[in-house]
Amino acid sequence: MPDFFRRKPTFNREDVSAEDGPVVPDGLWVKCQKCKDLVYSKDFERWFRVCPKCDFHARLSASQRIEYVLDSGSFEEWDRGIVTSDPLEFSANGDVYREKVKSTTRKAGQPEALVTGRGRIRGYDAAVAVTEFRFLGASMGSAFGEKFARVVERAVDQRLPFISISNSGGARMHESTFSLMQMAKTTAALSRLGEHKLPHISVLTDPCYGGVTASYAMVADVIIAEPGAMVGFAGPRVIEQITRQKLPDGFQTAEFLLEHGMIDMISRRSELPGTLSLLLLHYADAFLGRHQPGYAMSGQSRNGEAR
């Protein structure tokens, strides 16, 4: 279901920073991080920040992701005001966590590493949770966990299917055991979602490690990864340091995970809305009950490809 030209993302060139995607040498061309080829910047944007030459999927911010996946203007954000309260009064080597949160909030444009809310995907309603990697590597702290639990609980209340789109560098040290316990909290919330026959679809994007993969992201009903996304428990450097093992080519890529049975499919970014909406249509049978042609039809009329 290629659908590259349906919507035009509206990001500025300035989004393209050295760490988050291709470098922009001038106003018209961007340099692909992977193949180093120059790509015409308008093409790059129309292709959802995927290199048309080597298929490299550049990292997205939470808001870019939301724009790409959800129907335009359909996103309603929840719990934006929830922020960490620094339970350990943590500082490391003079770096004060509380200050770090303030500065990272400014830089990331988000007050936490998770953005939650509800929206529509090709007409199908869903609750969504999207990580913001620029906020402390999308590490899972107390506020992240609280927002996650709330969006899942609200999905149950509003009978919405739930979609998480994640990347993460791992655990948030600065909240130590509080951070660890968010793994229990987020999966506990999901166990309630499942009892109500509401599906959880998890989308793994580059890179996705540690506390996020070892909790909510890997116990979804359907797990989708972007091509080439690195996904694992421990990072490759940690593994090499500790075990002195030589890691094989392609280790921890989405393709490696598919081969090892850990994910259901790899979906190119441009195909993600189509795949998600098709799945939402199928699962609607479970949480809306069978013989609800109205719901199915509403989806059908909007994307015309479901049945």
Binding site: E14, S17, R59, S61, S63, Q64, I66, E67, D79, R80, G81, I82, V83, T84, P87, S91, A92, N93, D95, T104, K107, G109, P111, R134, S139, S142, S168, G169, G170, A171, M173, S176, T177, F178, L180, M181, Q182, M183, A184, K185, T187, A188, A189, S191, Y209, G210, G211, T213, A214, S215, V219, V231, G232, F233, A234, Q245, L247, F251, H260, G261
Partner: protein, 296 residues
């Protein structure tokens, strides 16, 4: 930089090789213990032990990370670091306990989940996550005890229980002090400082409401193994008795699951700022990532 801190001393105590380990507790506290092996999928992981037996007159199932008491044993037991097969053995035992209605007792004592190539290939993250999900809704009473080192997700995967106890000299944190120091101090010699910053002692975690009780060690466990194990057994019995009393009422298991949900749902420290304080930040503003985080 000081070479030690109070928290770092606890870490040293928690790691002592002659501290009693899971099998010591199980053999002393659980009568007629029969060890059960294997994940029915791939292997039997010696870093995770499991079995069935009688605890104070009722049948229970027990699970624990298993460290060795010397280097040879530790090589056999992978230093108490389970691979996915170990977590799947635990999952099998969770389901087994649920099938028969046996309470579950978990002994937590691991530096971390195994970080090897094979563990990644067989889905270490998946295995841990599935255990968290299973424990959250397991329809039997459960008690966990951190008896030594509670390291990260590898510890959490068998510790999401109705009651979580901790020995006085045990520690529990999101990462090892060494790993934390390497990442945030850029210097693994700062482990003593990291240990302090991570607030990983039983006293800290009791204060935070993350654990339910501290089992005292008037003498450190490695000097008073029998007394420590006995005291731990008494604490388990007290908590198990309380939650069994809830579970035994009509619809008691549903109530227990509600309480368990509220327990973990409630852990966290956050504030709900007024919208105006946070500000409605523009979407898509430029920024650089600061991945100050570990991958475990």
């Amino acid at each position: 930089m000081s070479t030690t801190t109070p928290a770092w001393e606890r870490v040293q105590l928690a790691r002592k090789a002659d501290r009693p380990h899971s099998l010591d507790y199980v053999n002393a506290l659980i009568n007629g213990f029969v060890e059960l092996h294997g994940d029915r999928r791939h292997s039997d992981d010696p870093a995770m032990i499991a079995g069935i037996g009688a605890f104070n007159g009722r049948t229970v199932m027990a699970i624990g990370h298993q460290k060795g008491s010397n280097t040879r044993e530790n090589l056999d037991r992978n230093f108490g670091m389970p691979n996915p097969d170990g977590y799947r053995k635990a999952l099998r035992i969770f389901r087994h306990a649920e099938k028969f209605g046996f309470p579950l007792i978990c002994f937590i004592d691991t530096p971390a989940a195994d970080p090897g190539l094979g563990s990644e290939e067989r889905g270490q993250a998946t295995a841990i996550a599935e255990n968290l999900l299973a424990l959250a809704s397991l329809r039997v009473p459960s008690v966990g005890v951190v008896i030594g080192e509670g390291g990260s997700g590898g510890a959490l995967a068998i510790s999401v229980t109705d009651r979580l106890l901790m020995l006085e000299n045990a520690v529990y944190a999101v990462a090892s002090p060494e790993a934390c120091a390497a990442i945030l101090w850029k210097d693994s010699n700062a482990a003593p400082q990291a240990a302090e910053a991570l607030k990983l002692t039983a006293q800290d975690l009791k204060r935070f409401g993350i654990i339910d009780e501290i089992v005292p060690e008037p003498e450190p466990a490695h000097d008073a193994s029998d007394a420590t194990i006995q005291r731990t057994g008494e604490a388990i019995e007290r908590h198990l008795g309380e939650i069994e009393a809830i579970a035994d009422r009509p619809a008691g298991i549903d109530r227990l699951l509600e309480l368990r949900y509220e327990k973990y749902r409630g852990i966290g420290a956050w504030v709900d700022e007024q919208e105006e304080l946070i500000g409605e930040l523009p979407v898509g503003v430029p920024g650089t990532s600061t991945p100050e985080s570990t991958s475990d």
